[in-house]
Every structure is written in C-alpha cells, then in structure tokens.
C-alpha cells in the first residue's frame, strides 16, 4: 500500500510513523516536506506528531496553512485516507478537515503515558480490524489534547458515530478520571463525515510490535489495508 508522511519543521514522530507504515504496508512511505506543493499518488497520507512551526499562535495553526496542506485538503476531498496523530490531529482541526479544536490540557501539564481507549466505531476504514467496543492501550504524549467543539457539533459527531476513540478506564468505562486531558465527552479521536479523515491524540504508530511493549496500534494500519482491498 502506497503512503506518504508529511514532515513539518519540528515534526518528531515522522520517523516512528514511517517505520510503522513500512513494516505494515510493506512499502517505504514517501516523506513529503511541508513546502512541497505536490504529493505522490498514494492511498494513505499521515500527518505525524511532534510540533510544527514552533506551534506559534496555536498548535497546528501555521502548519494548516502550509503549501503541502492545500494538497492534503484536495486529496482528502478526493477520498484519499488521511490520518493525523497528535500534532497531526491539531493540524487537521486547524485546517478545517475535522471539526472542533484542541486546547491546553485541563490539568495544564504535558501528559506522557499509556492511556486506555475504547474503539467506539469499528466500521471505519481505520478500525475495521478491531472488535466493536474493544479496549486498547496506546501511548499519549501531548500538552494540547483537550478536545472542544460547540454543542451542535458534539451532538452531530455523536449521532453520526464520528467519535471513533474515547478515553476510558481499563474496564472500558468513560469516567471523568479516565479523561486524561479534559476532552469533551472523553473524545480521543474523531473521523470526518465522509469517513476518510481520522484524527486522534494518542499514538498507535508507537505500539506496533511486542518488542516495543505491545502491538495494540497495529490493527489500525491493517484496517487501512483491508479497507483498500475491499474498496
């Protein structure tokens, strides 16, 4: 499966993402610099974690207006799979590809640990290899992961099953204690209405093999392969 990783100045999870994509998709992804106006013909575009342009103004704000993002938006509108992790999720909301915004964590601290998540929707091209309601463990590492959207947007997200991942406890309960960053409705990841753009704060690409502590993240990328094969 052909893929590309967009690289912004200060992206630092781009190589983790590239390793995951190469291992699971079986082909090295194209690494595309933020100043490029074109992206190779690929089936899957990843926006990695880290920072971008110093995250000046707001996290992801500058990156969302970079030359390469105009092309990412165009590809997304053509139906190509676009997957944003952490800073990539922030770039997706800032660019308007996903609704809402990511604000400073409610506790104000940078959070770096593993978190339990519930797969709320396994009928997407990114999650079809997970069981419905499956509880997974992905690493999180962010300062601005507190998901906010207005009441109408939240209602629409819930009604359309666009909330794909929620922060939960080990038993799968979306409790206030499990909501590590104060996100509305414990939201950890959402998909667009068309079903081809997924953004999430946790890092599935960091947990794809047992030697690294687990492989809960692997099925996300395998889902993308299965979805493409069935398309």
């Amino acid at each position: 499966m052909k893929s590309a990783v967009i690289v912004f100045p200060a992206s630092n999870c781009d190589r983790d993402m590239a390793v995951a994509l190469e291992k699971i998709f079986g082909e090295k992804p194209a690494m595309v610099w933020h100043g490029e106006a074109t992206i190779p013909d690929v089936d899957f575009i990843a926006l990695p974690g880290g920072f971008s342009y110093g995250d000046y103004l707001r996290s992801g704000a500058m990156a969302a207006r970079s030359p390469v993002m105009a092309e990412v938006i165009k590809r997304a509108n053509d139906g190509v799979s676009v997957f944003g992790v952490c800073n990539g999720f922030q770039v997706l909301t800032e660019s308007g590809l996903l609704p809402g915004a990511l604000m400073r964590n409610a506790g104000l601290k940078f959070i770096c640990k593993d978190a339990y998540l519930k797969v709320e929707n396994n009928q997407t091209r990114f999650t079809n290899k997970y069981e419905a309601g499956e509880v997974v463990r992905y690493p999180v590492a962010h300062h601005d992961g507190n998901y906010f959207a207005d009441a109408d947007t939240l209602k629409a997200l819930e009604e359309n099953n666009q909330v794909v991942y929620r922060y939960v406890d080990a038993e799968g309960n979306a409790t206030p204690e499990a909501n590590i960053n104060g996100s509305q409705n414990n939201i950890a990841g959402i998909i667009n209405k068309a079903g081809n753009v997924l953004g999430m704060m946790p890092h599935p690409e960091r947990l794809i093999e047992h030697d690294l502590g687990g492989d809960d993240g692997r099925a996300l990328f395998e889902s993308a392969i299965a979805a493409l094969a069935n398309a």
Partner: protein
C-alpha cells in the same frame, strides 16, 4: 497604519490557563479576583492607508489565521 487585534476565548470555552493565573494571583494575596480569562494581543503595521480596506484585510487575516473562530472571538482597532 497600525492594527491592534485582541483574540479572546469565547464564553463557555474552558480556560485552564486563566484558572491557573487566578490561582497564582490568589496565592500572592490578590483575593478579589473572581475570574481570569487569558487572550492574545497582536499588533500589525500595515502599508494600507485606507481605513475600510485595512479593516477588511485584517478581518480576513483574523478569520484565516490569527483567530480560531471555533473557540475564539477577535476584535480589531485601527489607528
């Protein structure tokens, strides 16, 4: 012409930083502060001399980059 832009969080959007500032003020002995909301101030020097055109341009800048209208309001002053 100078444009002064204030960007503030919309009412109803949680401001954890504002809350932390209020807490710190309290520990310094400033007890009467009931609420703190933190925002941004951006100053722009513009080549434009027509006030209406400058206002329209800065308004567009706010909508496209300076503010995230999902969570923020903005106000513009020109002089």
């Amino acid at each position: 012409m100078k444009a002064r832009v204030h960007v503030t969080l919309k009412a109803g959007v949680l401001d954890p930083q504002g809350k932390a500032i209020r807490h710190s003020l309290g520990s310094l002995g400033f007890d009467g502060v009931e609420k703190v909301r933190q925002g941004k101030y951006i100053e722009l020097d513009l080549a434009e001399t027509d006030k209406d055109k400058a206002m329209a341009a800065v308004d567009e800048m706010c909508r496209k980059l300076l503010a995230n209208t999902v969570i923020e309001n903005y106000s513009i002053e020109l002089d």
